[in-house]
């Protein structure tokens, strides 16, 4: 680790060929490889070369859409994707240090399945697993499951959406309890008594919520990290609350240092209110990046992609266009405003990911604010999170 007292953490958000809707048309994009293991292995390996803390992998239970709620019927953008947990698992044995954080949709999945899947990802990666929890308010995705009707919303700050976030909080609570439902030393293999486990060290979680109840224990023993890393993207007060109560990392989308400071202040207050003031909670800024050594080249690339897309690119997150040095300046400024790290969304995965690992990272290293080698064997370790005690251990 660098000797900097307050190092900065870096993640990359992987989504198809990149976050710009026309990214797949770039020569480096490999759109025909999107559904192969080799494509994802190459991306995660590149991120690991840059010593990044983690990659997140986007997912969804319907086709991608440019509309916030409904399918868009477009054929000029990447559509279709593989299950993010399975991508992460497929890549795990081929990487060694980087954290693997697939997206899971709380709204339509079983917390029991998600808990054991992420626990297993933690086993196959030797302690590098996490998850990014997300809700779905899309009526079409609800119709894929046919189990519940989702009230049609006009925007994301409605009681119906708050309800989905509450349910997501319950989902995470169940996932976390199940991870703890086996104590670390529950497997005893005591040949004298013939007992494989000490069943007093397995625990029913007996969760009863408004949306579901789950008995436990998990079928999978406590994962190597104890608690894999939980993260969530948050734009508003309600999700800030989810982050403050349930997560280890919140991804936020401030557009300047002032907003960064304000968001961090709100989340820290929520964190204190949730009784977690003394627990580490990371607040990462999300940024879309167009990165070239020559800022003019980055601008030109963005304009070219916008022209292909037929409209200027907009995002919930700040869109950065410029050089690694300029980006490093911005990150340091946001860092000083209270963010502990960043999740960068490469506009074009095949271009901007290597620009991060080979341009931005060396720049941050020169400034002494980013690691020069992996300093820990687990994702929690990289994030400075201790291995937590088991809530059920006597």
């Amino acid at each position: 680790m660098s000797s900097h007292p307050d190092p900065l953490h870096l993640a990359v958000a992987l989504d198809g060929t990149g976050w710009h809707p026309a990214s797949w048309r770039e020569p480096v994009a490999r759109p025909r490889d999107l559904f192969t293991a080799a494509y994802w292995t190459d991306l995660v390996t590149e991120a690991e070369r840059g010593l990044l803390d983690l990659v997140t992998i986007e997912d969804g239970l319907g086709l991608q859409s440019s509309h916030f709620l409904d399918p868009d019927g477009r054929t000029d953008q990447v559509r279709g994707r593989l299950d993010a947990v399975l991508i992460a698992s497929r890549v795990a044995p081929l990487t060694h240090h980087i954290g693997l954080v697939p997206t899971v949709v709380a709204t339509h999945t079983e917390p029991f399945h998600i808990s054991k899947a992420i626990a297993t990802l933690d086993y196959v990666s030797s302690g590098r697993a996490g998850l990014r929890v997300q809700i779905s308010a899309r009526p079409n995705e609800a119709a894929h499951f046919g189990r519940r009707a989702i009230e049609r919303i006009e925007h994301y700050d409605t009681p119906a959406v708050h309800e989905l976030f509450d349910e997501a909080a319950d989902h995470v609570e169940v996932v976390r309890r199940l991870w703890d439902s086996w104590e670390d030393d529950a497997e005893i293999r005591d040949t004298a008594t013939g007992r494989f486990i000490d069943r007093d060290k397995l625990h029913y979680i007996d969760f009863e919520g408004r949306h579901f109840s789950v008995k436990g224990p998990s079928i999978t023993p406590r994962p190597p990290q104890g608690q894999p890393v939980v993260s969530a993207l948050a734009h508003d007060t309600v999700p800030y609350g989810l982050v403050a109560r349930s997560a280890d990392i919140g991804y936020v989308t401030p557009h300047d240092a002032e907003e960064a400071r304000a968001v961090a202040t709100v989340i820290r207050a929520e964190q204190r209110a949730a009784g977690r003031a003394d627990e580490p909670l990371h607040v990462f800024g999300d940024l879309v990046v167009f990165l070239d050594d020559d800022p003019a080249a980055a601008r030109a690339r963005r304009e070219r992609l916008d022209a292909l897309a037929g409209e200027p690119y907009t995002s919930d997150a700040l869109v950065f266009t410029g050089s690694p040095a300029q980006l490093a300046d911005l990150l340091q400024e946001f860092h000083a405003a209270g963010l502990t790290g960043f999740r960068l969304r490469p506009a074009v995965a095949g271009h901007d990911l290597p620009a991060i690992t080979r341009g931005l990272v060396p720049e941050l290293q020169r400034r002494g604010v980013f690691r020069r080698a992996y300093e820990a064997g687990t994702l929690r370790g990289l994030l400075g999170l201790a291995r937590p005690a088991n809530r059920y251990a006597a």
């Binding site: 797949w24 048309r25 020569p27 759109p31 025909r32 559904f35 192969t36 292995t41 239970l61 086709l63 019927g73 477009r74 054929t75 000029d76 990447v78 559509r79 279709g80 593989l82 299950d83 399975l86 991508i87 698992s89 497929r90 890549v91 795990a92 044995p93 339509h108 079983e110 029991f112 054991k116 899947a117 626990a119 297993t120 990802l121 086993y123 196959v124 079409n140 119709a143 894929h144 499951f145 046919g146 189990r147 086996w182 293999r189 008594t193 013939g194 007992r195 494989f196 486990i197 069943r199 397995l202 949306h211 579901f212 109840s213 789950v214 008995k215 224990p217 079928i219 999978t220 023993p221």
Partner: protein, 460 residues
């Protein structure tokens, strides 16, 4: 050897990762982890080195209980099936990856995208062993909570499988154009469109994983009831059966294969692959000795008492496993002492079984433990490498099966000796491949791609 003039059948072999029954001997000093990925990687690589068709993972969604307490005498705990198989795809190149996944506590859209994803990520090596359950005991871990009336489990399973097939078939394989010059990514905005209206599922929309290399995963079925056999004859590519003896195997084989014609299917479109345990040593005599030793390891005194409880349906912990069988009769009330197991339902008339076993124990001077050892499942194959190779081949050539899913008793090395010593003999006899012929599991099993079996392509 067979004297038949028909050409020799090629044997299919698969490797069942040791599970949570007492078949698995965890007390052996060589026994490794059932959770660490290294165990799975070793097991899969051994099977692939031996050119096996596939690796097989079982599943259970609630820890077993007996007498209201978590059962602690067998291996407890296992990883998530999909996640392990996806990781194994990274450390193997050819071997098939078969996962058992429940149709009661999952939803078709999610299972379809998991298998489609696994098939993409493994280059066409995925298979799904479709199982059903109905118990409220397992349901306590899931949103739906409740349970399925027993008679509905196959109707749900059938509809579940049909729905998954519809989802996978909703992409035809040619939709992704990804033409960078013209800017057309998808040929058809309606790619993946589906509507399913049925008793159990009423869903519609667009599936979001393009068609995988195998079209669909290979489908396994494992139930043994008349309904289960019919389901397999209509829908499955292979059966994971439990009829490992020659006579029972032949009867099952004949029965199931005879059901295919009415679904317009040929006999070679459904493979019969029983589970098989084995004891392998340098000589037949040593193997017999090993088989006895392993049986005693599998049935400790404590295990013997617990297994007797399956029949007696009452707490027998006060009994001496090295003593005689209980005088008291089984409790025949409804609620059963053991939960989360399939095998306890096998004893339809516990009073009669108890009477039979008492007589058997008396006649042979058997203790409780002796009785459980003798009435339980002995290894299917016991002998030297030559004996095992000969026996396995005889079973296959005489249509007791199309091959076997081997269940070793040791994790993760229980397959090593078989791979090194038995497989070469089968290869010498010309009844087992010396190398993989194609990249997909369908290639290994001799199954055609669903698109060449007349899957209706929508005209568009």
């Amino acid at each position: 050897m067979t004297t038949s003039s028909k050409p020799l059948k090629q044997i299919h072999l698969a490797a069942h990762f040791p599970g949570v029954n007492n078949t698995t001997v965890w007390s052996d000093p060589r026994a490794g982890s059932h959770i660490e990925f290294g165990s799975f990687a070793h097991f899969a690589r051994t099977a692939e080195r031996a050119k096996f068709d596939f690796l097989f993972l079982a599943e259970g969604l609630r820890l077993r209980e007996q007498g209201g307490k978590i059962y602690d005498l067998d291996v407890v705990g296992r990883p998530d099936t999909f996640t392990v198989l996806a990781a194994l795809a990274a450390v193997t190149e050819r071997i098939g990856l078969t996962g058992t996944v429940n149709s009661t506590f999952n939803e078709p859209y999610e299972v379809a995208r998991q298998f489609a994803s696994l098939d993409h990520l493994s280059g066409g090596r995925s298979a799904w062993n479709v199982v059903t359950s109905w118990d409220a005991f397992t349901g306590e871990n899931f949103r739906c909570g409740g349970f399925l009336p027993q008679q509905e489990r196959y109707s749900r399973a059938k509809e579940f499988l049909a729905t998954v097939k519809e989802l996978l078939d909703s992409w035809h394989g040619d939709e992704i154009v990804a033409d960078q010059a013209t800017g057309t990514f998808l040929k058809d905005a309606k790619a993946g469109s589906f509507t399913h209206t049925g008793q159990h599922f009423d869903i519609h929309g667009q599936f979001n994983v393009p068609r995988p290399p195998q079209g669909r995963p290979v489908i396994f079925q494992a139930g043994d009831s008349d309904e289960g056999r019919e389901f397999a004859a209509a829908e499955a590519d292979a059966i994971f059966s439990r009829h490992g003896t020659l006579e029972a195997g032949r009867a099952f084989y004949t029965d199931v294969k005879s059901r295919l014609a009415k679904y317009g299917r040929r006999a070679d479109q459904l493979l019969i692959l029983p589970a098989a345990t084995f004891a392998l040593a340098d000589t037949d005599t040593e193997a017999e000795e090993l088989a006895r030793e392993v049986r005693r390891q599998q049935v400790s005194g404590a295990t013997a008492l617990r297994h007797l409880e399956f029949v007696w349906n009452r707490d027998l912990s006060a009994y001496d496993p090295d003593g005689p069988l209980p005088d008291v009769d089984p409790d025949v009330t409804e609620s059963h002492i053991a939960q989360g197991r399939a095998q306890v339902r096998m004893y339809r008339d516990p009073i009669a079984t108890a009477r039979e076993w008492r007589a058997l124990a008396e006649a042979n001077n058997w203790s409780i433990r002796d009785l459980v050892i003798h009435t339980g499942n002995r290894q299917n194959f016991v002998g030297s490498p030559a004996t095992l190779a000969r026996t396995i081949n005889e079973y296959v050539q005489s249509d007791a099966s199309d091959g076997f899913i081997l269940v070793p008793h040791l994790t993760p090395t229980g397959l090593d000796e078989f791979a090194d010593k038995v497989v070469p003999l089968l290869q010498e006899q010309g009844v087992f491949r010396t190398d993989y012929e194609g990249p997909t599991l369908r290639d290994h099993l001799g199954l055609s791609h669903p698109d060449t079996e007349g899957v209706r392509r929508r005209a568009s």
